[in-house]
């Protein structure tokens, strides 16, 4: 939005609302297709052409053993997520002690709840703020496909319309055990990932012109 110099304020409340509406409409228009699942590693795993060094193993072990989820709890699944965090299923056994309130400190997003178009820009922003590498678990039916509210006028049919999703946990909401199972599946995925990039593929500043 451009700043009008004649005003003594930058935004007034109505302009802010209009601006928010424009962002939502833009996102809605741009995200009609779902983002494909990042499942390339599954095929590579079958072909066995993935080579993990011991440094890879150490980094992957460190990454998967202390995943820090960001708090993204719009709706009902949040209650079950609290139960996973809670005394009976105790997520801290997996090094997932705290739900980070800040996306900058997190590397896992557990999307517990229905996503609405009004909320979608915020969730996308939270996802963009998370440092790489980052993973997303779509928890519950609303996270996967919009669930029972899919045909609603304000509901995003699945988080994979705006962010790529690594693991899908069905259930409305899934039991805490199911969530832990999903997290373990993600840990398996991380264990297979190549953490150290190939040196030949990196851009070399010494060789100018060749990229």
């Amino acid at each position: 939005m451009e700043i009008d110099e004649n005003k003594d304020y930058i935004y007034d409340a109505h302009e802010l609302d209009v601006h928010e509406g424009q962002i939502i409409e833009k996102l809605k228009a741009n995200s009609q297709k779902s983002i494909p699942d990042p499942d390339g590693w599954l095929d590579e795993d079958i072909k066995r052409n993935i080579v993990l060094t011991s440094l890879d193993w150490v980094i992957d072990w460190a990454r998967r053993s202390s995943l820090w989820p960001v708090a993204c709890f719009p709706a009902c699944c949040a209650i079950e997520m609290m139960a996973v965090e809670g005394p009976r299923f105790d997520l801290s056994r997996f090094g997932m002690e705290i739900l980070r309130a800040s996306p900058r400190q997190a590397d896992l997003m557990i999307t517990a709840g229905t996503l609405t178009w009004k909320m979608a820009p915020n969730v996308q922003r939270i996802y963009n703020q998370m440092p790489d590498p980052k993973w997303v678990i779509a928890m519950g039916t609303c996270g996967i496909s919009g669930g029972i509210f899919r045909s609603g006028y304000n509901v995003v049919p699945g988080y994979n319309k705006i962010i790529p999703v690594d693991v899908y946990i069905p259930g409305c909401p899934p039991r805490p055990e199911a969530v832990i199972y999903g997290i373990q599946m993600l840990q398996k995925k991380i264990a297979k990932s190549k953490a150290v990039p190939d040196l030949n593929e990196l851009p070399n500043p010494l060789k100018k012109g060749k990229k």
Binding site: A75, E80, A83, G86, T116
Partner: protein, 373 residues
């Protein structure tokens, strides 16, 4: 030498945006708070981040198919929502619920009240700054109630248990003994919880006299439930407009006078004790017999309108249904307890600090699923 006049700093109003994704806003609630230094001078809530359009979607579903929607309204107390909706449809269609069905409904609704207040009180401490510890104590008891509901209907959060004309399945034989075993445990726990919370200096200092809601304002805003009772309004639909079979049980309606955060906490604890009392009476009286009236799967209620309201854990939860005689409602409106209870938030937080704003907000006990629907 400085005089007080010289020390007074000129301040400028400052707008702070809290939410929508904020750990202390109980979901996706956003408020634009206008601050003067650290003092809140005004807030403007912004809703709609969980607006799923249940009222519109319900117009395309059969009457039985709407029950799953009501589970997801106030997801801290789905059983109460089910009850309210079924009462509204039964009123419309003129269905009589069998005796056993009524008792099962009362037992589940009261257990749900206990479960809801567990979270409400726990989350209130969370907002007061005691991060997660008192919450876990409360959640331990909620897990026990989860277990009971899981036994009853196979889900832990979204039960979908009640049906028009009764409940979906009969009680399992181990259910009533389990409830009987649970109630003494809960009573003991409540004593313990009150013992260490009620005189905790930090909690008392944070909550006594904070966020006062006067009786007149509460009535004017249409506030109901424990928040209203903490302000001295002795109004409880279980007694004033008895639905189902609440008129057969003995219970008190706890009220408080001051209407501050401490009272709202205390009223909830007392209400849990009364719920235990109702449950103790109810589990002894459960009769044998059918648990569900003979109602077809797809019902065609006569054209007309009905409004049924119940005392849900958060307050008056009402369903207004307009029927045109077809299999789906013509208009389906939910009286949102949480949205209306938030109506006085602006008046309550004015003049308090930002930390108190979070605490006062937490003491109202809202669920965003019900605010936005």
């Amino acid at each position: 030498m400085t005089t007080t006049q010289e020390l007074t700093l000129k301040t400028e109003p400052f707008i702070l945006n809290i939410g929508p994704m904020h750990p202390s806003t109980h979901g996706v609630f956003r408020m634009r708070a206008t601050l003067d230094g650290e003092v809140v001078t005004d807030i403007e809530p912004v809703f709609g981040y969980l607006h799923r359009g249940i009222e519109k979607l319900a117009e395309e579903r059969t009457y039985t198919g709407i029950i799953p929607f009501t589970d997801r309204l106030d997801y801290l107390s789905p059983m109460s929502n089910n009850l309210g909706y079924c009462l509204a449809v039964e009123k419309l269609a003129g269905v009589k619920v069998p005796e056993r069905g009524e008792y099962i409904r009362i037992i589940t609704a009261e257990l749900q009240r206990l479960a809801n207040h567990c979270v409400a009180i726990g989350a209130m401490f969370n907002d007061a700054g005691a991060y997660f510890t008192p919450f876990l104590y409360m959640f331990r008891n909620r897990e026990k109630i989860y277990d009971l509901f899981d036994m009853l209907c196979g889900q832990r959060v979204t039960y979908n248990y009640m049906r028009i004309g009764g409940v979906s399945q009969d009680l399992p034989e181990e259910f009533l003994p389990a409830v009987a075993k649970f109630l003494p445990q809960l009573k003991k726990f409540l004593d313990e919880y009150e013992f260490f919370v009620k005189q905790n200096e930090v909690f008392v200092a944070r909550s006594k006299g904070v966020g006062i809601l006067s009786k007149e304002l509460a009535i004017n805003c249409g506030i109901s439930g424990p928040v209203a009772r903490a302000s001295g309004i002795k109004h409880d639909l279980r007694r004033d407009d008895p639905y189902s079979i609440y008129d057969r049980f003995e219970f008190d309606i706890p009220t408080a006078e001051n209407g501050d955060c401490f009272d709202r906490f205390y009223v909830r604890v007392q209400e849990m004790r009364q719920s235990v009392r109702i449950l103790e009476q109810a589990i002894k009286q459960v009769p044998d017999g059918p648990f569900r009236a003979n109602v077809p799967q797809v019902i065609h209620p006569p054209a007309g309108e009905s409004y049924a309201h119940i005392e849900s854990p958060k307050g008056e939860l009402g369903y207004y249904i307009v029927s045109d005689g077809s299999i789906a409602p013509y208009r389906f409106h939910i009286r949102p307890t949480s949205l209306i209870n938030l109506g006085a938030l602006r008046n309550m937080v004015r003049g308090w600090k930002v930390a108190d704003l979070i605490f006062i907000f937490g003491s109202i006990d809202i669920t965003m699923g019900e605010v936005d629907r």
